[in-house]
Symmetry: C2
Subunit: 207 residues, 2 copies
DNA sequence: GTCTAAATTGAACATCGTTCATAGTAAAGG
DNA sequence: CCTTTACTATGAACGATGTTCAATTTAGAC
């Protein structure tokens, strides 16, 4: 193992993040305990506050990692140049569902973790979320060539949020959520309806 | 005030629920404290556990009240017989946005409050959520007369969840959420696209 | 080898939700 | 009216949690 200070510090941070990931996977973000994390990481309770500001900041680092993996999964799912806009949208939505299902507790932690009132997340954390919107813009631009960049960015957020809502209610097990067995098909139907409707709303068909 | 035991018990329960509502409105569901609730309700800390099983159950009673008010708002927003399916959908979505904005912390409490792992909500609580789906079925049936009741119920959940997702990310102030100033317009655009797309997917136009 | 600054430790602290022994009080019986 | 009984109210006490801190250990510089 590394002997100098910097290496040991980074090693502890990595062990703590790995422990948080594992604990969230096992017990969910709501069941995360500082003592369980430090015990699994093999350090004292107080060491957590030397490596990170607090438990919230540690969770944000893990969330950033999850977000990066999610972004890679979305980009990897994008089809080649020959694909239609709907095919691109379906590929993105399908990859989103797959990632959320395969990493359910970590994905839920992305959207259930809240900072105490008053504190707001650092910029590097906010900026990591941009990828979720950016991937939606290109296919949306094909559907709505009449919209400028600002309107496209806004509509991309709306489109993402719509798909996200269906996945979230389903994976949270909310009563109004769609059963998991129907999730993929229903998201597919939603994306299909949204893309057809968006295309219809374009200027060449009149509003 | 009531003197017999039943009346006093109901009065305490009502005072506790009112206090929880007020506390959630002021500090959000995450800032809810049993001591602040009992202090505002004018009773001892332990009295909470005589009137309700625990704080979670008390929150569920308040959530049920919020849900009932939301259901009434949705039903009241439905237009008359002459309305088109899209007009019904737009009216419902608009009322949903309006209620969520006007009762933001209480509405957020509906979807952020979670029971500890293992425990699941009682049936009377689950059943209260049905109204959110039921109101969507009639207009959806007009758009998709080809779907049977089961498929309609499923698609109604998906449609609700899509709108809900846009409102939730916006009102939670998430980074990927739509700005509050654009929320109404974006939800309108989403509903428009979904209804046009759903109509297109109907059998008379081929799939 | 000595010194300084950083890291490590786990006990202590403040703050939660929840429980419990105690005290008080309302309804029932004679 | 008094006694009894069952329910209610109380707030101190408990266990669990995130965070802090003084004491200790250790790594790096001179």
């Amino acid at each position: 193992m590394g002997n100098n200070r910097e290496e040991r510090r980074e090693d502890l941070r990595a062990r703590l993040m790995a422990a948080v990931e594992d604990q969230i996977m096992q017990h969910g973000i709501a069941g995360l305990k500082a003592r369980a994390v430090t015990a699994q990481a093999g350090c004292a309770l107080g060491a957590l506050y030397n490596a990170f500001d607090d438990l919230d900041m540690l969770v944000m680092h893990v969330n950033a990692r999850t977000l990066a993996r999610l972004g890679e999964a979305l980009k990897a799912a994008l089809p080649g140049q020959g694909a239609t806009a709907e095919e691109m949208m379906q590929a993105l939505a399908g990859a989103y569902v797959d990632f959320a299902c395969a990493n359910r507790p970590l994905w839920i932690a992305l959207f259930e973790h809240r900072l105490p009132a008053g504190r707001d997340a650092p910029d590097w954390y906010r900026d990591n979320h941009a990828v979720l919107i950016e991937v939606v813009v290109p296919p949306l631009r094909r559907l709505r060539p009449d919209l400028d960049d600002q309107a496209l960015a806004l509509r991309a957020r709306t489109t993402f949020a719509a798909v996200h809502g269906v996945v979230l209610l389903a994976l949270q097990g909310r009563f109004v959520g769609v059963p998991l067995s129907d999730l993929r098909a229903e998201v597919g139907a939603l994306v299909s309806a949204m893309t057809r409707g968006a295309h219809l709303a374009g200027p060449e068909h009149g509003v």
